[in-house]
Structures are given as C-alpha cells and as structure tokens.
C-alpha cells in the first residue's frame, strides 16, 4: 500500500497530462507521454516533486506557441475557404436557402418572443430590493357557513404583527378606492391608493420629487405618478397644488412617484396617507372586523417565515377572539382554527396566488409551463425542419464530400465544415429573427397587454441568451446533416450510385403528419371560435342593445334628483326615454333569497334583484310576457310589487305567477308578483339566465339608462353632458354605450381568436416547411424513376399525381387525427358558454381542405420541377 502511494506521488499532474493529450498531434502519443512520465518520475525521485512538476509544466507551455500558431493559421485559412463555399451554396440554391433561413428565423423569433414573455411573467415583483423578504398576509376564514380565502385582511393586522413578533421588521398597508379627482376643468375617475408611509421602506418605489419620510405624514397629502401629474397639471410644477377628491376634500400634492413597472402585481397611480382613510371614523383603523385592506410585512434578514407562521397559533385568538368575545360566546376556543393568517412570498403572488379580492387578476404558473413547452417545441420543430431540408440536399453535396475525402479531408474535418455551414445559416436566421421581433413586438404587446422589449435584458444576459440559442439550434439542426454527409464513402459517391435506399424516413413522415395535425386543429379552432362570436353577436338578448347609453352615478349625486334630470333630458328631441336601475347588462347583480309566502324555508331560491324605475322595461325594450308593468296608478307598486322573469317562474314551479306572493327571507319585505317578463340576458352568454326580480325602488339605483333616437348620438351626448354637469356636484360624466359594454364581455374570446389566427398561420407555415423538405427529399430520390417513366411515355400531370399522392395521404391522415381531437377540445371550450353554437361539419371540412390545398401548393414547387425535368439530364451516367 505504502509503496503504491509512493508511486502515485511520482505521477505527473493529471491536468497537465490532459493538456498534453490535447496538444499532442502524433501518431504514437502514448510513447511520447510515456517518455515524459519517465523523466518526471526520475526528476521527482531525485530533485523533488515540486521541481518535477515545474519541469513538466514548462514542457507543456513551451509546446503551446508553435501549436497554436499552426492551429490558428490553418484554422483561419480553412475558415475563410469554408465560408466561401457556404455563400456559394446559398447563392446556388436560392429557394432552398430562403426557405431554410425563413423557417429557422420564424422559429427562433417565436422562441425569443415567448421567452421574453415567460421571462416577464417570472420577473414579477422582483424589482423590489427586499423582494425576497416581503410577504403578503392573507386570510383564511374557515367558519361554518362562511369559508373564504382572501387576500384582504383587517387594518390593525400589520401593527399587531410588528408589535408581537421580532421577526417582523416592518409592514405596510394598502387600500384601494375608486374616487373622482378634480382640478380646474380636469375631472377623471381614478383609483386612489391609501398607504402607510412605511410603503417606501418596504417596497422599492422611488420618489422623483419629495421626501419618502414626510410625503405621507400629513393627512390629505397626495403623491402622484409623473403621468398623473402631467394629466392634471400639464407642465406646471405639481408640488404644493391641490386636487379635490370626490368634490369633498382638497388633497395637497407632496411628491411625485416614479411609475411602477408593468411587472408588478399592483399598480398605483396616486397615494394618500392610510390614516386619511379613517379621518371620519378614527377608531375604525383598530377594528378587526373590517376586512378590506392589504397587509404586507418585511421579514427580518435571518428570520424564517415558516417558524413565524408556527408561532402564530394563538394570534387570531388574541385579537379576533379578544375583540368579539360576546359574538363567539361558547365557540371562542374555536377561533384559532376558524381564522388563520398565512404568508405569501411577494414574488410568488403573480403566478401562484388565486385568492378572492386580488388587487389585479393574476397569471398562473401553468401558463408559464405551457408557454415554455410551446417555445421549446416550436424551436425543435424548426430545427428538425431545417435538418430535413439540409439532408434532402445532401445528394448534391455528396460529390463534394467525395472529392474532399479523396484529397485527404478527415471525417472530423468534414463534420466541422458542415457544422460551420449550418452555423452560418443559424447566424443569419438569428439576425433575421431579431429583425422580425423588432417588427412584431408592438403588435404582440398589443395582443398580450404587456410591455415587452427586446433590450430589457442586460446586455450580458442578452448575449448569453442569443449565444445559447445559437449553440442549441446550430447543434440540433447541424449535427445530423454533418454526420450524414461526412459518412459518405468517396468511392461509392463518386461512382454515383449510393442512394439506393428508397424509403422516406419514418421520423420525417411522423413529423409532417404531426405538424399538419396541429395546424388543422388550430384552423378548426379558429373557425369555431369565430362561429361562436358571430352567434353571440346575432343572439337575441331579450332587450334592445342599440342606442342605449349607460351613465354611472357611483356616488348617487344625481339619482336623488332623477325626476328633474329625466325631464330635462327628455326635452332634447333625440332622447327617447330615460330610466334608472341598480344594475345594467354586463355586470353581476346582487342577489337575495326569496320564497313563496308562507312556504317552507327549503323552498326558498336565490334571485337576482334589480331596483328600477317605472319605465325600465320599456326603455330597455324588454317584453312583458304576462301581467303588467309597474304603474303609478297602484301605490302598492312602490317596493311591494315584483316583476319576475321567466326563469324565476320556472324555478319556482309556477305556471301562472301573476298574483302569487313572495317574501324575502331574513327581511320583512313581502309583495305580490304583478307581472312576468320574457327572459333577457343580463350577463354574458357564458351564464345561464338566472331567476331575477325587479323591484320599484328608483332612489337606490346607481345607473341611468338613456335611450337615444337613431340619429346623431353626438348631439344627444352633448346634451347629456351639459345636463349632467348642472345636476352633479362635480363628478365627471362616466358613460358607456350598451353595445360596447356587451362587446367587452367577450374580450378574452376576441383576443383568443386573434391569437389563434396568428398561431394557425405560424403552424401552417412550419408544417409546410416540413412538407417541402419531405417532398424535395422524395423528388431527389426518385429523379431517375421519373426520368425512366417519362422516357416510357408518362405525361406530366401523370407524374405530378404520382408524386402528389404520396404526401396527400399524410395530410389526409393528419385530418383523421385532427378532427376528433379538435372536436373534443372545442366542445370543452364551448361549454364555457351557456348559450352556444353547434359545431358544424363544414368548419372541419373547410379546415382540412385548406390544409390540403396549402400543402399541394407547397409540394407543387417540387413536383412540377421534378416532372418537368429533362430525363436525358437525369439519366445521364457519369
């Protein structure tokens, strides 16, 4: 053992041996390395290991300069020679080169675009310097009869956490409120955020102007973003000026906030001090029963969130149990299990949090996974198509390979050459991809609602990313052709008879079928979505959506004077009718539980409630089915009469509802059903029409519905605006047109349709590239067969059909796979809608035909060329 160890000591350095092995260019490397080893051993034994090692390294280093000189010199000259050959080839086969580069650059562009999107999704909230230590506190209420997971928490939570646990270093609270802001003649509805001044200690939100420590110190101070400041004050200095909020109180601008990046889970445009929210009821800031606020905490650097959560088992007992002792009574000891607070890491909110009352709708991690998979998938497909096209060309390159080999090229040199060749292609494609992205990024952003930019990444990351793509794509797409081409045996190639294999590779066929399946599915999907959108547009909603203007009165400034307002408006010739209601189509209504008077509780049903004016049904164009509308002739109609819809009558099991009595469960309100209306779609077509009742309580309405004449809407809007200004106490006119409102209900479907169109085109393009490769491969392979057939008298259409039917069958196979799959997927999608169109066969047939047609067009380039080629030329024997 000892001896062996001794021997080991006298071995040369492993790293050195490795270098030597690389540098040695000799037919007997073993003997040279042996020689060095022997001398090392001798030196080590007599003059010490260190000296031996020094000597060994000196030997290696002294060998490097001549070696590199040689390698560089010949490397460069071969490089330029190969480059020349590449460009000659590109020039010689313009169509091929174009298609190859186009396919690859589209693939790479897609990959980069989706990567940018994924990167953006993953980057949410990371711009905060302390992002890894910030947590949002969320609330799990698990009381019998009330179960909720909400992002909102009580206001005193933050201070209590800071006070009780040393792990919590800081906290901040946010609360959002819709307000309208007024400065001079500028009036807009805004979302105001009330926040602690600790906001700036927790989050990274730099102020352009103002001191973060004092900007939110005084009540009624206001911080605006630069954009907001410009909106209200133009180019004036906003600091010190005031903005009136809700027409009630002047807030003084004390600071200017830098805009919050798009990749944040909340966006704030204006901030007021948190305490200001409670100016009217100061005690409420300590009230645990009001769950309306977002609490964020900053964890101490060495603390662990898990152990903090474990320590909090009695937290809710102390505060919630403590505040509401009488309320819980005997159940007091169950409070800790009923009310629990949890922590969400800030960076995970955007992708992992799906609670109720999120500040903004969040994304989902599964989306990121799907996107990543799709990006890689597109890239791989593009690579494989590239590979197919290059190998299809291998026949024309075979002779070159043969000659090179005869002249003395080694296989690895040829591999290097062909790899280099595809690298040039990849490089060009990469460049074109960047150009494509530059062109399409704006419309992509418009579609996805993001603000992606190619140069968002740091230069280093960008270069690394592009280099990564280069290596990956070059490696995948270049390796197979390189190995295939370099494997040709010169004698066989030069004699001219190497391509005996007369079969299309299975993998390639599979790919083409697969790509077409995807394309056809996408096309079918686009058709069906389009069909459904048309169905939605043409669907009778049960009311007249044309020429209806909806005016929102969130603070009920005009509603109390609605009669006068109405009269004033009706003076205008273009206003036909005016009514008020508590809700308008396209929004969710509040609901209540009702039962037939005197019946059991279990017969109660939930009904949407609409508080309306006498003429609401008329104004909206809703048809009465039975009974009568509200009328001034009956005093009892005020609040004690109901008009229900068909669906309500059906749910209650009433065939003739008029005259029946209903009572509201839990309240004392009772009344008679005086009429029934035909069903109308209050919500989007995703939902079934719910049971609904209308009650005559106009003073509790929140919306005006104005029916204008078919003529000039602008004129009518002018009158409405002027009248509104006379009645309102300063809040701006917030109006919308009914048909636009309804349209916006299907926003996600519209954007899905658009996305699908893009993807169908893309998929079809890529599939055609694959098919083109396959077709050219087969055409090259069968060129002699075609020649002989031609000589024997085959006509050109005959030959074209011969070649055509080979691929047509694959496209047909793709159809067979795509139809049922698309059917199943689209059926699932259509189930989102309570009211939906039927899937018709023509959509499928059209999609299949379209794919076949495009495929034929793609192939015809090859088939026509093959069929037209001169047989004498093809059959010539060299």
């Amino acid at each position: 053992m000892a001896l062996q160890k001794q021997e080991k000591k006298f071995r040369s350095p492993v790293l050195g041996r490795f270098f030597l092995w690389i540098l040695l260019n000799h037919k007997h490397p073993q003997s040279i390395m042996g020689d060095l080893e022997e001398q090392f051993h001798e030196l080590a034994k007599h003059r010490g290991v260190l000296r031996a090692k020094l000597w060994y390294w000196l030997q290696i280093i002294s060998a490097v300069p001549p070696y590199t000189k040689n390698a560089i010199y010949w490397g460069i000259s071969m490089f330029f020679n190969n480059l020349k050959i590449v460009f000659r080839n590109i020039k010689k086969n313009k169509v091929y080169s174009f298609i190859n580069i186009a396919g690859l650059s589209v693939g790479i562009a897609c990959f980069i675009l989706i990567s940018l999107q994924v990167e953006d999704e993953l980057s949410y909230d990371q711009f905060h310097e302390k992002a890894d230590r910030i947590y949002r506190v969320v609330y799990e209420i698990n009381r019998p009869g009330s179960l909720s997971n909400t992002a909102m928490t009580p206001a005193p939570l933050g201070p209590a956490l800071l006070n009780d646990y040393p792990e919590v270093k800081n906290f901040t609270r946010l609360s959002f409120q819709d307000v309208f802001m007024l400065h001079g003649d500028k009036r807009f509805y805004e979302e105001l955020c009330y926040a602690d001044s600790r906001l700036f200690e927790v989050f990274t939100m730099p102020l352009v102007v103002g001191d973060p420590e004092t900007a939110l110190r005084d009540p009624y101070s206001l911080i605006l973003t630069q954009e907001m400041a410009r909106k209200y004050f133009g180019n004036q200095n906003p600091v010190g000026k005031t903005i009136s909020i809700n027409g009630q109180k002047d807030f003084q601008v004390t600071g200017i906030l830098e805009a919050i990046p798009q990749n944040s889970h909340f966006h704030i445009n204006c901030i007021a001090p948190f305490e200001t929210l409670f100016e009217k009821q100061k005690g409420m800031i300590h009230y645990w029963g009001n769950i309306n606020y977002y609490n964020y905490i900053l964890l101490a650097e060495d603390a662990d969130i898990k152990s903090l959560e474990d320590k909090m088992s009695q937290f809710s007992m102390k505060y919630i149990g403590g505040s509401f002792k009488e309320l819980f009574g005997d159940d007091l000891d169950r409070v800790p299990s009923w009310y629990q607070f949890h922590f969400q890491p800030l960076e995970s909110i955007h992708l992992h949090s799906h609670l109720s009352n999120e500040i903004e709708p969040n994304s989902d991690i599964s989306l990121v996974v799907v996107f990543t998979a799709a990006a890689l998938f597109i890239l791989v497909i593009a690579c494989i198509n590239f590979m197919n096209l290059s190998t299809a060309r291998s026949f024309t390159r075979a002779k070159e390979v043969g000659i090179r080999k005869v002249v003395g090229a080694k296989r690895n040199e040829l591999i290097k050459q062909f790899l280099g060749e595809s690298s040039v292609f990849v490089l060009i494609s990469l460049f074109l991809a960047l150009v494509l992205i530059f062109l399409f990024l704006p419309s992509f952003n418009a579609l996805s609602g993001k603000e992606l930019a190619l140069f968002d990444l740091s230069a280093g990351a960008m270069v690394g990313f592009l280099a990564g793509i280069f290596v990956l794509v070059g490696g995948i797409s270049g390796s197979y052709p390189a190995f295939l081409l370099s494997s040709f045996r010169p004698a066989a190639v030069l004699r001219g008879g190497v391509f005996a294999k007369n079969s299309t590779p299975l993998v390639r066929t599979f790919l083409v079928v697969f790509q077409f399946t995807i394309s056809i599915m996408l096309i079918i999907g686009t058709f069906i979505i389009h069909d459904q959108m048309i169905f939605i547009q043409n669907k009778k909603l049960g009311f007249d959506q044309q020429n209806l203007v909806v005016i929102k009165d969130p603070f009920r400034e005009v509603i109390p004077k609605y009669k006068a307002f109405k009269e004033e408006l009706l003076k205008h010739p273009n206003v036909e009718a005016v009514s008020v209601s508590s809700g308008v189509p396209g929004m969710e209504l509040s609901s209540t539980t009702v039962r037939p008077e005197g019946s059991e509780f279990k017969e109660a049903i939930s009904m949407d409630v609409l508080l309306v004016d006498y003429n609401f049904a008329e104004t909206m164009g809703i048809q009465m089915a039975e009974g009568r509308n509200f009328s001034r002739d009956f005093v009892s109609d005020r609040g004690r009469a109901f008009i229900i819809n068909h669906s309500a009558a059906h749910t209650l099991g009433w065939e003739f509802p008029v005259g029946k009595k209903l009572e509201i469960v839990g309240g004392s309100q009772k009344g008679e059903v005086i009429g029934m209306v035909h069903d109308f779609h209050f919500n989007s077509l995703h939902h079934m029409i719910a049971p609904m009742m209308m009650v005559l309580v106009p003073v509790r309405a929140k919306y005006f519905v104005v029916k204008t004449g078919p003529g000039s809407v602008t004129k009518a809007m002018e009158t409405i605006g002027q009248t509104w200004d006379r009645f309102a106490q300063g809040s701006p006119l917030d109006y919308s047109f009914m048909d636009n409102r309804l349209d916006s209900l299907y926003k996600s479907e519209h954007s899905l349709e658009k996305t699908l169109i893009y993807f169908s085109i893309l998929a079809l393009f890529i599939a055609c590239l694959g098919l083109f490769g396959l077709a050219s491969f087969a055409a090259e392979q069968r060129i002699k067969e075609i020649g002989i057939r031609k000589v024997l008298g085959a006509s050109i259409p005959n030959l074209m059909f011969l070649l055509f039917k080979d691929y047509a069958k694959w496209v047909l196979l793709a159809n067979i796979i795509a139809w049922p799959t698309a059917y199943l997927i689209m059926r699932k999608w259509l189930q989102n809608f309570a009211y939906r169109t039927d899937m018709e066969l023509w959509g499928f047939i059209l999609a299949g035909t379209l794919a076949l047609f495009i495929a034929t067009a793609t192939m015809s380039f090859q088939t026509v060329r093959a069929a037209l080629s001169n047989p004498a030329h093809n059959l010539r024997y060299e």
Binding site: H26, S31, D35
Partner: protein
Amino acid sequence: MKYLSRPEELVLITVWKLKDEAYGVKIRKYIQKMTGKYWSIGSIYVPLDRLENKGYLDSYMGEATAERGGKSKRYYRITQEGLAQLEALQKVYDRFWQDLPDPSFKKS
C-alpha cells in the same frame, strides 16, 4: 539524393550509438549531453518521425514500466539505408574538409 538536416543527422547517429537503448528519453538525454544544449521533446520527435518516414529508422514497441505510467516505450533502430545515408554524408564532409587552407586571423 537529398541530404539529411543536421538535427536528423544527429538523431540518427544517436540511435545508432544507443543500439538497443534507443527510445525517447535516452535519445534526448544523449543528444543534450553531447551538444550541451536544451532539446525540446518536439525537436527530438520531429526528426525521428521524418527519419522513420524516409525509411532510415525502424521502430518497435517495448515494455511498459510503472515509472512511465504504464505506457510502453517506442524503440528506434537504424536501418540499412540509414546507415548508408550517414556514411554517404560523412564522405561528403570528408571531401569538404580535405585540403583546407590554414585559417590565419590577423590580430587587430
């Protein structure tokens, strides 16, 4: 006929001289001793390869030892042609060296 280069010549003589001991390490050491100069490994092996290609040297594998990290030696042996070449070269030298005048330098 092409003449050998000086390094080739020296290496060839060395191989001849060392007889059964002519492998890399020994050759290099001998030449370094005789010339009193540093010879890199490359400067030994390049002439060896050339000589072998020209047919003036033979090579055969020898035994592997522990000191060599288990790698065997490659022994070289001079061939008939190699010997003839050396002799021819020597004759040329002799001819040149004959009847050279006495080199007398003036002391300046």
